[in-house]
Symmetry: C2
Subunit: 320 residues, 2 copies
């Protein structure tokens, strides 16, 4: 758990109703407002100076970061408790200069630039040996925790491998130990054969509703070739992924009437080398139900929609 | 993950906006509408027949249960996947006959009856040896997943000990193995001494903002005497707990302007005997922030409010 100590929120600070940057309100992510964000750490632009207009994708440090790069970890105890400083990085990937569009609306080339930016930032941050894990994620829409309307995703680099990630890695390692095969490679093979939970399949990716989804219309994008680290994906893969991700988001938009959603890239820890047992992938979670007491207590999720049903809806809907 | 196969939800079934039983709309939990719920499994009433009026607290099976008591577990494989039938119980505790009040508004005696009903139902269901764990929880308000306005809590009895619960038990067991003391007893002692995260303290309970809370104003109610199973609490304890729980909910109502919240009772597994290393308690989680991509990926939560701050607000606010 990360407690922000810089600017404690008082009871009246909590937002009660979803809100978005009001239309016509000021947006720091729009082209021409570059000076309103911290200086960029990466931008794709054909010409012009850094922190000026003319970019397609721009990555900037989060103005209100959950973690900061400067300082020491400073692990220490406080009686029976343990604490450490919030060392890490928190960056915002502004996915396009235009305020009015969503990631699903972007041209395929633009989506590819976003995916390429994820890769570039990961490769750069990986050089800081203190950083052990990078979480790449998108919160789209207020119900999914997306508080700014201008389309963007986020990156948080952490000085530890999170417990939830370690559980997934350990689970995959146990399977590998038993079968001598990657569980995700097996999943791709079995699901592709069965077909009933498949949404789309290309040469390089399988889009599938997982067997026991936590959420209705939970959708995974899994590379068909084994690869443990997202940042090792080559240009051809990310080009294909741009098509696949865009098509998947457009299918979800069409079937669920533009839902709020989260996606996260599940990938291997930064400072660990290529693994035979783990396989990066993307998990997309449309926000259709609410997580309540039972889910918090157990980690079990009650899902009213079987994956075979949601796969059929997504498979059958056409997107341009 | 529990997939409901009885009545799959189609895309158009998902509720987009929070809703409540419209005021003046029909409520099956109100006194006089007893025939609109499945027959009661428990009720406290001074006189009159079962499933009639005149009750103070009434427990009925959920009309749309996540799990059912009938049948066999039927563990089986499906290729690389595992499945079993949804055996269990899902009950609703209707906390009072009146539609217009919340749990915090009830008289102390009425809150005690609710807590006593939790205990009675647990003791009864525990006799079914297939049932391994009971989750007692409340979803208050639409933002917390509470879909019916009439004040109620829920009970789900499961044929397995959930992974999240097992983690908590194992963590407590490791601590005990190392220190030969219960981690919750140590927490009560240390927090009571330090005082800065304490909200209220009685002879039998400590109300505390935990050291590294996942959520702003997350509040725990921990018995000061060691006890692993909620259902072993005696009448005097539950009488004191009624006062403590009511006062705590009223404080949260006052400081946070009647927030939506979840609470869950964390207790030891049904079929395991009293444990020296585990200690039942209640975790209350006001719904002030949204769980988004980062939290799903890591299990880490970013909390803008340090517990010392929230404790001070809750400590200082007076309640009648």
């Amino acid at each position: 758990m990360i407690v922000l100590t810089g600017r404690p929120q008082r009871p009246s600070d909590f937002v009660r109703e979803p809100f978005f940057t009001p239309s016509g309100g000021f947006c720091p992510f729009c082209e021409g407002h570059e000076e309103k964000t911290p200086p960029e750490v990466l931008a794709f632009r054909s010409s012009g100076p850094a922190n000026g207009a003319g970019w397609s994708v721009r990555v900037v440090p989060n103005k209100f970061p959950a973690l900061r790069v400067e300082g020491e970890l400073g692990r220490q105890g406080e009686g029976m408790f343990d604490k450490m400083n919030g060392i890490g990085a928190h960056e915002v990937v502004i996915e396009c200069p235009d305020h009015q569009v969503s990631l699903a609306d972007l041209a395929e080339k633009q989506v590819r630039d976003v995916l390429w930016a994820f890769r570039c930032r990961t490769l750069d941050l990986k050089q800081d040996r203190r950083l052990r894990y990078i979480v790449l994620f998108k919160n789209h829409g207020p119900a999914a925790g997306g508080m700014l309307e201008h389309t963007h995703s986020q990156l948080i680099a952490l000085p530890v491998v999170p417990g939830r990630v370690r559980e997934e890695l350990d689970g995959a390692a146990s399977y590998f130990h038993y079968k001598e095969r990657c569980i995700y490679c097996d999943l791709v093979h079995q699901e592709s054969q069965a077909g009933i939970r498949v949404v789309t399949e290309t040469e390089r990716f399988l889009v599938v509703e997982p067997y026991a989804p936590r959420f209705p219309f939970e959708t995974w994008i899994v590379p068909t070739r084994h690869e443990s680290h997202y940042e090792d994906a080559d240009q051809a893969s990310l080009e294909n992924l741009a098509w696949v991700l865009r098509a998947t988001l457009r299918k979800l938009d069409k079937v669920l009437e533009r839902p709020a959603y989260n996606f996260t890239i599940h990938t291997a820890p930064l400072q660990e080398s290529a693994m035979a047992h783990y396989h990066w992938h993307i998990e997309i979670m449309p926000k259709l139900t609410r997580v309540a007491g039972f889910e918090w207590a157990t980690g079990f999720h009650i899902n009213p929609t079987p994956p075979e049903e949601s796969a059929r809806f997504l498979r059958e809907v056409g997107v341009v």
